[in-house]
């Protein structure tokens, strides 16, 4: 067995890969949360449920419409995004002027309801979704075996996150978004339809969760509680990265996945808590988060 300084390299790289995969999902989900929080100051507790909805939608589309993985990759995020648009327009906007606690409770309620409905209809044991044929192979690397599907997830997530970052930080549309966050009233006075931007942004952030759901379907089992398990970790990541920081959410998502993977190798008992430990340390030393701006 290949070892280096007494470290089992197969085991280490294996856990690093698992960490990167988890990190890819963390990044996609926390990116969506950071966008929604950044622009709307809404703490969207339904983000995990939207991820679950994405996975179920992919499964249902295959089952009943014969829509394969690649089609689902395009259609499902749009559909989930549409759910987000409707949710913002008809549930969140009416309470937009209330305390943020209201939208937090509302989205939490939506998440529980969705989870309840899917548990009722499909049980809680989980459904399986097979890896698309084109990505079912793998590559043998010096210290590990890299399944194609996992490589695809990491690449796709990095590309989607990178594009989203570029769109928000470098384009005109992104400038509207950033400025609308800072001073919505003045943006209205400049002639920008801020409520429309808000709705579409919410839809986009939620659509990202839907996309993550489709990508997760083949490797995690499709189950009603898949989102709620992830949500708390993702919130911790957004806090570590700095609430509302787009780049911070992406980098922290990937980094926390890797840290979790390393912990799994060196001290498995702590792997479920390490992210929260990091969160506590960051909050104590830099309350605005690693990439957040001090208020």
């Amino acid at each position: 067995m290949a070892t280096f300084l007494g470290i089992n390299l197969f085991g280490l790289f294996g856990q690093l890969l698992v960490g990167l995969i988890n990190g890819s999902f963390y990044a996609l989900l926390s990116l969506g949360l950071a966008i929604i929080f950044g622009l709307l100051k809404i703490i969207n507790f339904a983000q995990g449920a939207m991820y679950m909805l994405g996975a179920f939608a992919a499964w249902l589309a295959l089952q009943y419409l014969g829509l394969n993985y690649w089609a689902a990759l395009v259609v499902v995020p749009l559909a989930v995004g549409l759910v987000g648009v409707l949710m913002e327009r008809f549930l969140i906007r009416p309470i937009a002027n209330e305390d943020h606690l209201y939208s937090l409770l509302l989205t939490f309620g939506v998440a529980l309801m969705l989870q309840g409905v899917f548990t009722h209809m499909y049980g809680s044991s989980g459904l399986s979704y097979s890896i698309p044929e084109a990505l079912s192979g793998g590559t043998k690397l010096p210290f590990m075996y890299l399944p194609d599907y996992r490589a695809w997830i990491i690449c796709a997530s990095v590309v989607v996150c990178g594009l989203t970052w570029w769109m928000i930080e470098k384009t005109k549309l992104g400038a509207y978004l950033r400025a609308g966050t800072e001073n919505p009233q003045l943006m209205q006075a400049f002639g920008i339809n801020v409520p429309l931007i808000v709705t579409l942004t919410f839809g986009f952030g939620v659509g990202l969760a839907g996309l993550a759901g489709v990508m997760a379907a083949p490797i995690y089992s499709v189950s009603p509680d898949m989102g709620s398990n992830l949500l708390i970790v993702v919130f911790a990541i957004v806090v570590i990265g700095g609430m509302g920081s787009i780049g911070g959410a992406i980098l922290t998502g990937l980094a926390m996945g890797v840290i979790e993977g390393l912990t799994k190798y060196f001290y498995p008992e702590a792997s479920n808590t390490v992210i929260f430990l990091v969160m506590v340390i960051v909050l104590l030393l830099k309350p605005a988060g690693l990439f957040g701006k001090e208020a």
Binding site: K172, A179, T181, E182, L186, Q188, F190, G191, I192
Partner: protein
């Protein structure tokens, strides 16, 4: 038809922030190419008048006619597209955007806005600092940026709120020159101003406000005769 077209006409305008009734029936009008000021003490309702025109107050009633279009029931984001450019008292420079992004931010509301090159020529400081974070600029530079970005949008009715406040005399003078230049180009300007000595030589007319009412209208040629009256109202 008269040679001077009415660009802005306000009749019996009332404005409210929540329960507070701020404007109590304002009547005023501004002709094309005119530079009109709103004078008065702090809290007289001058800034609120501008904000009410942009539909940035809680509630408003009465009539606000811009370029012949009634806007009292128009959503806020449509008003700018009638050719209005608003420069808020706090300047509203976005810290998340650099200088050039700030300059390019407001969408074009008319087709003949000034070009970025032209604006950099008028305000060379902005060109030198175009990649700086917007709020890193000095107060004077921020004011120039706030003015430049609405000029780029092509707005031909400018609502300017206290643009000289807290600025060094040399910058105030520069802003005065720019306003005169804009007036020569036929832009219509409604200016809220504390600095009467800045406003007097460049304005065509003045409205004096007190407690949410317009209490006096003074034409430029009446200034000398009404100096004492103005002093009483403005407490200078």
């Amino acid at each position: 038809m008269s040679t001077h077209r009415e660009k802005l006409r306000i009749d019996d305008l009332h404005a409210f922030y929540g329960e507070s009734h701020i404007l109590h029936g304002i009547d005023m009008s501004v002709m094309q190419g005119e530079l009109v000021t709103l004078l008065g003490r702090n809290g007289a309702g001058r800034s609120t008048t501008l904000r009410a025109i942009m539909n940035m107050v809680g509630r408003r009633t009465g009539s606000i006619n811009i370029n012949g279009t009634e806007t009292i029931n128009m959503p806020a984001h449509k008003i700018a597209h009638l050719g209005l450019g608003y420069c808020p008292e706090e300047r509203g420079i976005f810290s998340s955007l650099n200088v050039e992004e700030n300059l390019l931010l407001p969408p074009a509301v008319r087709s003949d806005g000034m070009s970025v090159e032209e604006l950099y020529e008028i305000f060379p400081n902005l060109y030198e600092r175009r990649y700086s974070q917007g709020t890193r600029l000095s107060g004077g530079e921020q004011q120039m940026l706030a003015l430049a970005r609405i000029l780029r949008s092509g707005a031909n009715i400018l609502l300017l709120d206290e643009i000289t406040e807290g600025l060094a005399p040399v910058i105030v003078q520069k802003l005065g020159e720019v306003l005169v230049m804009l007036k020569e180009r036929g832009l219509t300007i409604l200016l809220v101003e504390q600095n009467f000595r800045f406003a007097a030589p460049i304005a065509d007319r003045h409205y004096v406000m007190e407690h949410g009412h317009i209490v006096e209208e003074v034409h430029a040629h009446e200034l000398e005769a009404k100096t004492e009256l103005l002093n009483t109202y403005l407490g200078v």
